[in-house]
């Protein structure tokens, strides 16, 4: 390995050849500011368009300033990261960016979490020397994501996520010069595009150009309505990230505090989506076993592989891009929707509440869930199974608004009966978790034997596409895993081309699975945050006494009292769904 030695701010540093000035400076704990650079190392995404020009530095002997994110270190280089020339240029460039940005910080959805705002503070912007025309665009309100394009600073991170990582390709740079901006084709609303609402664009947006639809107000309204029974469910990935919004280290588990906060907020029942995740395993696992055994018994009609269907971004994706393969995914609804369906039937009956008087709120790490709960098939007489879905970030804001000191909250437990869950449900929150949970159950149901080791290490990790085989009593079950829709596309194309023969595939739309969801606290491009969250999830699983979904006593009870057995007619009506060819639907819309 070739090394080069250089001086940054008069301090010597030695780095591998090819290292950028930006990274060399980091070695010296010099954090050069930037607005567009993004490095998700573990996901192989390095976005360095060199567009914002905030990270410029002075390099001795160079005519102009160098963008540190893209300039490689050279032997003997002398770099200044805070000379007068650099500071003046950096602040002027920022003033320029701000001059084409609305000045509505006080009422902005991103206020306090905005990279641009932070940068203005950091660089000491104190006046607005450039007044002039501002570019204005039509705002776009979709069921899940709001695009306020006036706030776009052309960092192009969303474009990278949407195109390179997700291969959805809904967002592209359009127009040029002062009018240049990122938008869907023909500047139509996302609603009229192939957007999967994965929310990865929202997750990386430095400003409020892309934000999630805020349902907190609706939730507050429901909570203050005495006629309503408000039930809340919290997804597994939320507890591993919520703490970050209150200054805790990434990977801090806050399950107990979260439950207690939700109670203080006034929810009548604080339940766990994990309960529904166990239920999902029962249904999906049964379907998987059924399809696999039929296949092994020589049934030619059975379609394999079976694909997981709990990720709404992923469901949208295959509805748009693989309409010819709609019969492959499991018909099992996602845990959010299973929860809603059971809450407004089984639980409502138990409580003797009319479903119209019950409001089901979900706390999700996800943006697509907001869309999912509005799907027509998940409603009964126009009354949705899940009324509102709010993100981890929205919950954090809500807690702060309610003057709750999160840190000092006691740990509390979920309510019964829909608060009980196993370790298998918890790991739904990270890539590989759903299929591991399904395998745990399927193995025991299939073989009739107890698992010798509950942890399937082969299914874990951060590789975009992974595969493993599990020995089911002499039968080799081949499993594929992908996270990120780009990886999903690769895997699916291989399946389509007959190049891959998996029995089952788990797909999550977001990097790392739900822990990296579009509704999670912003990781600002730091993938170590995602890793810490995953670790926390596996820890929670390990700490649970029950770690297989079919061992969940309340699930067993639910089947005994209400559903019969997995795959029953009632289970089908409440817990399964069907898919649509959205490409065809979209053409009709146009």
């Amino acid at each position: 390995m070739e090394l080069v030695k250089l001086k940054i701010d008069n301090r010597t540093v030695e780095v591998e050849k090819g290292t950028t000035i930006y990274h060399a400076a980091q070695k010296l704990n010099i954090e050069i500011p930037t607005l567009c650079y993004m490095n998700l190392k573990d996901l192989n995404i390095e976005h360095k368009p060199g567009g914002c020009r905030i990270c410029v530095v002075e390099v001795e002997g160079r005519r102009n300033l160098a963008p540190s994110c893209a300039t490689e270190c050279m032997e003997g280089m002398e770099v200044k990261t805070h000379s007068l020339r650099v500071l003046n240029a950096r602040r002027t460039v920022l003033e320029l960016i701000i001059s084409d940005h609305p000045f509505d910080c006080l009422v902005c959805a991103k206020s306090g979490h905005c990279d641009l705002q932070d940068m203005a503070v950091k660089l000491g912007v104190r006046d607005l020397p450039f007044q002039g025309e501002k570019s204005t665009y039509k705002p776009d309100f979709s069921p899940a994501i709001i695009r306020d394009v006036d706030k776009c600073i052309m960092c192009r991170r969303c474009e990278t996520m949407c195109n390179d990582f997700q291969t959805v390709g809904v967002l592209s740079g359009i127009h040029r010069g002062f009018e240049a901006v990122v938008a869907p084709a023909f500047e139509r609303d996302l609603d009229h595009s192939e957007c999967t609402y994965c929310g990865q664009c929202v997750a990386v947006c430095p400003t409020a150009a892309l934000t999630e639809v805020d349902h907190t107000k609706n939730v507050i309204a429901a909570l203050s309505d005495p006629r309503k029974t408000v039930v809340v469910q919290t997804a597994p990935a939320v507890r591993a990230a919520l703490g970050e919004e209150f200054g805790m280290e990434p990977g801090t588990l806050v399950t107990g505090k979260m439950v207690s906060a939700l109670r203080q907020l006034g929810f009548d029942f604080v339940f766990d989506t994990d309960f529904a995740a166990d239920l999902t395993i029962m249904e999906e696992g049964t379907e998987m076993l059924d399809r696999i055994s039929r296949h092994l018994n020589g049934d030619k009609d059975v379609k394999l592989p079976i694909l997981t269907s709990c990720c709404p971004g992923w469901v949208n994706f295959f509805e748009y891009y693989y309409p010819d393969m709609l019969d492959i995914p499991s018909t099992a609804r996602s845990p959010q929707q299973m929860f809603g369906a059971i809450a407004k039937t089984y639980f409502a009956e138990k409580q003797k509440i009319d479903r119209k008087d019950m409001v089901v709120v979900s706390i999700m790490p996800c943006v697509a869930k907001k869309y999912e709960c509005t799907r027509e098939e998940f409603a009964e007489d126009n009354n949705p199974d899940v009324d509102f879905s709010i993100s981890t970030r929205e919950l954090a804001k809500f807690i702060k608004q309610a003057n709750i000191d999160f840190d000092s909250l006691p740990d509390e437990d979920f309510d019964k009966p829909m608060g009980e869950s196993t370790g298998a449900a918890v790991i739904f929150g990270t890539t590989g978790g759903v299929i591991e949970a399904a395998t745990r159950t399927a193995y025991e149901l299939h073989t009739g034997k107890a698992l010798p080791k509950v942890d399937f290490d082969a299914l874990r990790g951060f590789e975009g596409i992974r595969s493993a085989s599990v020995d089911f009593n002499g039968t080799e079950i081949k499993i594929g895993i992908a996270h990120g829709l780009g990886n999903a596309r690769k895997l699916l194309d291989d399946v389509k081309a007959g190049k891959a023969d998996f029995h089952a595939i788990e797909i999550m739309a977001c990097p790392g699975g739900c822990i990296g969801g579009g509704g999670q606290p912003l990781h600002h491009g730091d993938s170590s945050v995602l890793k810490a969250r995953a670790k926390a999830i596996y820890e929670e699983d390990k700490g649970k006494t029950l770690r297989k979904s079919h061992e969940n006593p309340d699930i067993i009870k639910l089947y005994e009292e209400y559903l019969g057995k997995p795959g029953s007619e009632k289970a089908h009506k409440l817990l399964h769904t069907h898919y649509f060819d959205k490409k065809a639907k979209q053409v009709l819309l146009d």
């Binding site: 360095k48 460039v93 002039g132 127009h175 010069g177 002062f178």
Partner: protein, 597 residues
Amino acid sequence: MAKYKMHMLVCGGTGCRASASDMLYENLKKEVQDNNLEDDVQVVTTGCFGFCEKGPIVKVIPDNTFYVSVEPDDAKDIVAEHAIKGRSVKRLLYTDPAKKEQIPDSKHMGFYKKQIRIALRNCGLIDPENIEEYLAADGYEALGKVLAEMKPEEAIQEVIDSGLRGRGGGGFPTGIKWQIASKVDGAQKYVVCNADEGDPGAFMDRSILEGDPHSVLESMAINGYCIGATKGLIYIRAEYPLAIKRLKIAIKQAREFGLLGKDILGSGFDFDVEIRYGAGAFVCGEETALIHSMEGDRGEPTFKPPFPAQSGYLGMPTNVNNVESYANIPVIFNKGAKWFASIGTEKSKGTKVFALAGKINNVGLIEVPMGITLREVIYEIGGGIKDGKKFKAVQTGGPSGGCLTEKHLDTPIDFDNLIAAGSMMGSGGMIVMDEDDCMVSVAKFYLDFTVEESCGKCSPCRVGNKRLYEQLELITQGKAKKEDLDKLRNLSNVIRDTSLCGLGQTSPNPVLSTMDNFHEEYLAHVTDKQCPSGVCKDLIRYEVIAENCVGCTACARNCPVNCISGERKQVHEIDQALCIKCGACLEKCKFNAIAVI
């Protein structure tokens, strides 16, 4: 019927006419008549000889005698001596300032060397749609020679030795560029000809492609051989339909003659060329943007390194050169690097083609050796300023360049001197401006262009140039303060310092160079709220000069907003509240009765 034995050509260019060449013409005619020579000698006026400094000029053919500074009274001598006695009038001959000897024959005169056509050698000489004419003009001989007799590194060395620098604007040594590309390994290398000429006011590339397309194809093949590329791409503006048509014909013919395709001239070397179209984006003149455009994407530049030579078209090593650079290559091989290097200045060899335009008499495409002065270009080739107005500035380098002024008139033009003077060579637009041009407005014009053509990728160019334009607009509207000039300068410097590509890095040049050279004019706009050139609408008004107005009503009839009133034969009046300052009245008035104040 007359069969003339002699013609006397009298320069009728503006410059010569100003020094009474028309009277000279009349006198010559009269002398010819008086001596009964009408059937033998014809006297005619001609266009400008481009030697206005020594005008009026008379040229006598067939012997090509060239008389300079001829006065009307000299007509008698010329006819008596030259036409009758057949000997030249010695005192009117041109004296070579260096050698101090008189030169009778125009073909040996220094000023003819002002223009040497190398890149344009075949333009206007051969039929561009006929490969045989190109072949007869040494066409493809350089390629033949290189393929048969030279190793790639020898051929590259020849280009290095010639000192040829990129004619697209940057001035990077062409040979060195080839050398770098030749040393990078790649499964498939590419040679790209940048024919996306976008400078407003430059059209030399178009002229070369229209007049001599084969020279570009030949050079690309040589380039391919040198760097180990078998594929060539020409990225050409879709706005050049004729050039595209001729290129297509040329490619077809070259293939038919075996000068493109497999095993060219029995050398075993394969090379072929395809055309890719631009679609109207100035920034695509930048190499990386051009490559992205050829790949079917938005033409947004990317940071260099990696340079195209390392990772270019489809990620492969790619060499990009501009049309005019290529047009020079065959000559370098045919006549030798040494010959080529003998032309020009120490660091800028050869010639440069300029599109001479603006307020100049002989608008046209000229090719001059590097090192020529602006004065020579404007007054000896360009025939001086139009309508006898005063020279104010020359803009070179298009939107990336700057203005050169009177003090630069005697600076030798080459890459480095132009940069030192705050402008640049650019692709070769040379726009002459006179006293009627407001330099703030000129800077604004270029910024308007940059704002429109910025790709929008980096913030300083996307937003900065817009703000720069707006600042300039405030100045032309009289709404700016003196302090704003400092802001303008700081903003210009920052844009230059921080932009991603050449477009943004040079876009403030028109502002900075006009601020440096015409500071007073900026001051007049911001402090006195006046536009000295009478251009900025918000700072001027049109008024009727009562003593000159005869009441012809021409102004009133032509005013588009009917704001001029007055009875026939009465002094007219302009209603300032309604006037849109279009200047129609000024244009129409034959009595100098409208003034700009």
